[in-house]
Each structure stands twice: as structure tokens, then as C-alpha cells.
């Protein structure tokens, strides 16, 4: 138990010490939220101004819509790239120190996943510094639900990263594979646009993408789905359906947890059986 804790602690300490990484982690979200979000938001507003808009839709604010997606993006990137440290440890030789010790391999994977998840949670929470500038109102109910939701997502994504890292020898190889995963998963998750009116094939991929449910879960919590007028829910693409069933926040959390459990078991198996 203490072994898992110390492996976790190591990642968190390094995150806190690395100021440059911390500062640069704001760049992408800033670009998306403020530049892309405002630009897109303006365009949508002018489109709506030219036609007749149903009542309630006037409340559609694209920057607000994007904010949960940006949380998703940040958490996803941080969690999946946290596994890079495994490959780097291997490159710099430190992994040998861990592998020659009597620590069960399963503990190493657990500690690493928890470390990556914690760092991603912290990074995700830091994004809430944008909140005052985009007019989202937080309340204790939102905060209390969003923290465990982010952690759950971060844990699941972190285990995907570790599964990939478990078999790779170079940081370059890892980055290449992860880049191939990151872009399609992010673009087809509803982080950047409402999931409405997609072509059929795209709809299928979106529904297969676990990140879709993560982003939707964040939207439902942060934008307070329960209190939203129906037409706004529709416009923001929040009435996600799978096989005719309206997906609830609880469904999504359950699915992400299950997916994460499968991933971490695979990661443990892969890490224990490979020659380091």
C-alpha cells in the first residue's frame, strides 16, 4: 500500500515542481476557449440573428458550451501523456531500480495510474480559473460532482496511456502512437462542437468513443443539464442516445468506470509480462 502511495507521490511532486509545464498547460485551452470559442460563438450569434430563433435558444453561448469540452481535452491530454514518464524512466534507467525491487508489478501500475489521474485532476481543476471570464456560475453541487467525475475519467484515460507505454521503449514511439489516438478521440467527442446532425458513419464512431461520454458527463454537470430548457439541451447536443435509450449521467459514469477497469487490468497484465 505504501509502495503504491510513494509511486503516486513521486508523480505528483514532479508535477508541482515543474513550473514551465504548468504554465504552458494553459496555452492550448486559452486558444480554444478564448480565440476559437469567441470566434465561433460570434459567427453562430450572427447566423441566429438573421433567422427566426426558437425561444430559449438565445441562451446558447458557444464559449460556455465549449468549457466542459476544454476540461475534457485538458484531462485527456494530461492523463494520457502522464504515461510518458514510464517510457522516460525506462530510457533514463530508473525503471530498472523499480523492476529489480520486490514491489509487485501490479502495485507499480496502480501507483502510476493514480499518479497520472491525480495530476490530470489537478490540471483539470486549474482550468476552472477561466470560469470568471466566461460567465459560468459554479455552485457547491457542481463542484462536488465534477471532482469525482474528472478523477474517474482521468483514471480511465491514464490506464489507456499506461497500457500503451507498457510495451514501448522510446519516448518518440510513445508520442507517435498517442498523437494518433488523441486527435480523432478529441475531435469526435463533442468537445468542440455539438453532436447534432452528424453523418451516420460519424455518429457511430462518436458513440464508440469513450471520450464522448466523458465530455458529455462534464457538460451535464457543469452546464446543469437538469435546469436547462429542452431546446437548449437539444441545441447543445446533450440528449445523447444509444440504441434509442437516452443516456443519463449515471450511465456514463458507469460505462467509464467499467471501461477503466478493463484498461487497467490489461495494463497490469501487459506490464507484468513484458521484459522491461
Amino acid at each position: 500500500m505504501e509502495q503504491i502511495l510513494y509511486i503516486w507521490y513521486r508523480d505528483v511532486v514532479k508535477f508541482v515542481r515543474d513550473r514551465t509545464r504548468l504554465a504552458s498547460s494553459f496555452v492550448m485551452p486559452f486558444m480554444f476557449l478564448i480565440l476559437f470559442g469567441n470566434g465561433m460563438g460570434g459567427a453562430i450569434k450572427s447566423l441566429m440573428a438573421s433567422g427566426r430563433v426558437p425561444a430559449g435558444l438565445a441562451g446558447f453561448d458557444f464559449v460556455k458550451f465549449m468549457f466542459p469540452g476544454i476540461i475534457g481535452m485538458t484531462v485527456f491530454n494530461t492523463a494520457i501523456f502522464s504515461a510518458l514518464s514510464i517510457v522516460q524512466d525506462r530510457e533514463f534507467g530508473f525503471m530498472k531500480e523499480i523492476m529489480v525491487s520486490p514491489v509487485p508489478r501490479v502495485h507499480i501500475v496502480l501507483g502510476k495510474t493514480l499518479g497520472g489521474a491525480t495530476v490530470a485532476l489537478l490540471q483539470g481543476l486549474l482550468m476552472f480559473l477561466f470560469v470568471p471570464f466566461i460567465g459560468i456560475k459554479l455552485n457547491p453541487g457542481i463542484v462536488l460532482r465534477v471532482i469525482p467525475a474528472i478523477f474517474l475519467v482521468a483514471f480511465t484515460i491514464s490506464s489507456i496511456g499506461i497500457l500503451v507505454a507498457s510495451r514501448l521503449k522510446t519516448a518518440q514511439g510513445f508520442q507517435m502512437i498517442i498523437q494518433l489516438l488523441v486527435f480523432p478521440m478529441l475531435f469526435l467527442s463533442g468537445a468542440y462542437f455539438p453532436l447534432n446532425g452528424m453523418p451516420g458513419w460519424m455518429n457511430i464512431i462518436v458513440k464508440l468513443n469513450p471520450l464522448t461520454y466523458a465530455v458529455d458527463l462534464f457538460k451535464k454537470i457543469i452546464l446543469e443539464y437538469d435546469k436547462m430548457p429542452e431546446v437548449l439541451r437539444q441545441a447543445m447536443g446533450l440528449n445523447l442516445q444509444v440504441g434509442g435509450h437516452l443516456v443519463t449521467a449515471a450511465n456514463e459514469a458507469g460505462f467509464i468506470a467499467l471501461f477503466g477497469a478493463v484498461m487497467i487490468v490489461l495494463a497490469m497484465w501487459s506490464f507484468s509480462t513484458v521484459e522491461q
Binding site: 510513494y6 513521486r10 531500480e97 525491487s101 521484459e275
Partner: protein, 337 residues
């Protein structure tokens, strides 16, 4: 050596490692007694690290096995890992953590009891003279300090067997002798079995027993003294105007086996003093220089493999000179005054 029990703490049986069609370790067998300082001596690429890494369970075994402290390295990895400490040939510290954090992490990984942790950490830090740098990040350390920290770390959990893979490679002479002092200290104090690899002949001299390794095989295994006796008598080295002819003449006149290398020719005789005077008069080839020495482990290597250790790489003194040059150059870049 008085502390040596008679127990074999390491028993290696037909240990083999193949990489595809290339066999890096060719079925070696030997054993090491508890409390012994045991060494592998051999040139780069001989298979020393490969053997050690298999014994330490970080490299899979192709064939054969080894029993460490009663546990089989292929079947009982966890128990083997508990019994050993290793200083790898290549660095294995986390440079973004402090020295203290690296040591704490090690204690946690090896489940060193909380009540003795800090005391042991302080003890090894003191021994390796790193105590006043304990809160600095490792990446700010010099090469010698990092090596010392690795040795300190390897000792924290009081291993029964300590493996040292080229513990002093690339270090300056002062640091090398420091590190050797620590190694001898611990061995005496804790009765730890020390298993080291080196390609420095002078380091192999410290060992209770040395195994000479070449091309994945153990060529010979004995105490340094016995190995040198096996060479027989004194070694005569000379350079002449015509080495080729000299070799032939010595063979013809004295029936001696002569070896030729970069530095001239050498052979051994029972008593160098008596042999030398008539030899210089009798040899029909002009002698440029001649010297006599007690045999070294290099001569042993030469006798058993037909090649000099130094043929393939810089000798240890050459390497030390190289390191010193490099570190001196590093101290004063571009003649800044």
C-alpha cells in the same frame, strides 16, 4: 576472509543467454561463498552485465538457472529480489528527485521498517559523504556523487548479496579509491557477499576470487594469487629492432612460448633475475628496451585467452588519464580565467 562461512550463497548452473542466433552467455556454472568478494573480469562485451542482469531477475534466462540465497531466479523472483541489491552499470537514479527522496523511495520499495528508515538513510549518506547535499536534486550532482548515491541506495535494505556492475567506470582516481573504501567497509561490517564486474585489472586484485570471462564463457576461476602463480614466474617484456625474428630466436634457443602485442613481446620465466643477464648477451636481435615484472592479471588473461585485455580497449590507466583530461577540460572551458 575469516568471516566466510562455507555456505554457497550463489550457485549458477549452466546459465545461458541467447539473442537470436548470438549467444551472449554460454552456459556458465560456478558458485560463490557467503561473505566472499567475488569478481568477473573481462573485456567489454564479454557477457558480464548480461550474466549479472539474469542473476538479478531483470533479464530473462534462456537456459540454466542460478540459486541465490536459496531461491531460484527463474521461479522465485520476488524472494531473490528481496535478498539482493544491485548497482547497475548504467545510471538508475531519478534525477528529478532529491538524494533523500531517491533513498526514501528505495526504502519504501524494499519495505524497510519505518522505525529504522531515517537512521539507515543518514548512515549511508554519511558513509558516502553526501549528507550535506541530501536535499539537492540529483541532476545537480557530479558523476562521482551519483555513483556514490547509487551505492548508498543499494545498501539501504541490507541485502545479503550486493551486485556491483562496473562500480567505478568513468570515475576519477580519487573517487574510485573512495568507492573502493566504502565497498571494503561494508563487506567487513555487514558480512555482505559482494559480486562485482570490472574490466580494470587493478580492481580485480581486491577480490577474494576472480572469474575471467571472455566471449560469454568463464575461462578460469581462482584467487588472484593462484591465477598469477599459474602464469609461472616472472614476466619479461622487451622491444627489439625486429620483433618477428626475436620471437623465432627465443622459441628456438629457450623453447619458450612468446606473445606479441602492440607494446612488443613478452614471455615468462621461472626466475627473471637469473635469466636476464645471459639472455641480453645471447640474443642476436638488437634490444631496444627490456623490463621484468611480477605477473599481473593482464598476463593471466593473456595466458588463458591468447590476447591482452588492453588489446581491445584502453587500459585502466589510459582510461583514467582520459577521464582526467575530460574533467579538467570541463572545468575550464575556453580558457576562461
Amino acid at each position: 576472509m575469516t568471516k566466510n562461512s562455507n555456505r554457497d550463497i550463489i550457485v549458477v548452473k549452466n546459465l545461458t543467454k541467447r539473442y537470436g542466433s548470438f549467444t551472449a552467455v554460454k552456459g556458465i556454472s560456478f558458485s560463490v561463498k557467503e561473505g566472499e568478494l567475488f569478481g568477473f573480469l573481462g573485456p567489454n562485451g564479454a557477457g558480464k552485465s548480461t550474466s549479472i542482469n539474469m542473476m538479478c531477475t531483470v533479464l530473462s534466462v534462456t537456459e540454466g538457472t542460478a540459486i541465490l540465497n536459496g531461491h531460484d531466479i527463474t521461479r522465485d523472483k520476488a524472494r531473490v529480489r528481496e535478498a539482493i541489491g544491485i548497482i547497475f552499470q548504467d545510471p538508475s537514479l531519478d534525477e528529478n528527485l532529491t538524494a533523500l527522496e531517491n533513498l526514501k523511495l528505495h526504502c519504501v520499495m524494499y519495505k524497510v521498517d519505518k522505525s529504522v528508515r531515517m537512521q539507515r538513510i543518514m548512515e549511508v549518506l554519511e558513509m558516502t559523504e553526501l549528507i550535506d547535499r541530501k536535499d539537492s536534486l540529483v541532476k545537480t550532482f557530479s558523476g562521482g556523487m551519483k555513483r556514490r548515491l547509487e551505492i548508498a541506495r543499494g545498501l539501504l535494505h541490507y541485502p545479503k548479496i550486493l551486485f556491483l556492475d562496473e562500480p567505478t567506470i568513468g570515475l576519477d582516481p580519487q573517487t574510485r579509491s573512495h568507492i573502493w573504501k566504502y565497498i571494503m567497509d561494508i563487506k567487513e561490517r555487514e558480512n555482505i557477499t559482494v559480486f562485482l564486474t570490472t574490466h580494470y585489472m587493478d580492481e580485480a586484485e581486491y577480490c577474494d576470487r576472480v572469474a575471467i570471462m571472455d566471449h560469454g564463457e568463464l575461462v578460469v576461476l581462482d584467487t588472484p594469487a593462484n591465477l598469477k602463480n599459474a602464469v609461472g614466474g616472472d614476466v619479461i617484456r622487451l622491444r627489439t629492432e625486429d620483433d618477428e625474428m626475436a620471437v623465432a630466436e627465443i622459441g628456438k634457443r629457450y623453447g619458450l612460448a612468446v606473445t606479441r602485442d602492440r607494446d612488443g613481446i613478452s614471455f615468462s620465466v621461472a626466475s627473471g633475475e637469473e635469466f636476464m643477464a645471459p639472455f641480453i648477451k645471447e640474443l642476436p636481435v638488437k634490444i631496444l628496451s627490456i623490463g621484468m615484472s611480477r605477473p599481473t592479471l593482464n598476463d593471466v588473461f593473456l595466458k588463458f585467452t591468447g590476447r591482452a585485455l588492453r588489446d581491445e580497449e584502453l587500459s585502466s590507466t589510459d582510461q583514467l588519464r582520459e577521464t582526467m583530461k575530460r574533467s579538467r577540460a570541463g572545468l575550464r572551458p575556453f580558457g576562461r580565467s
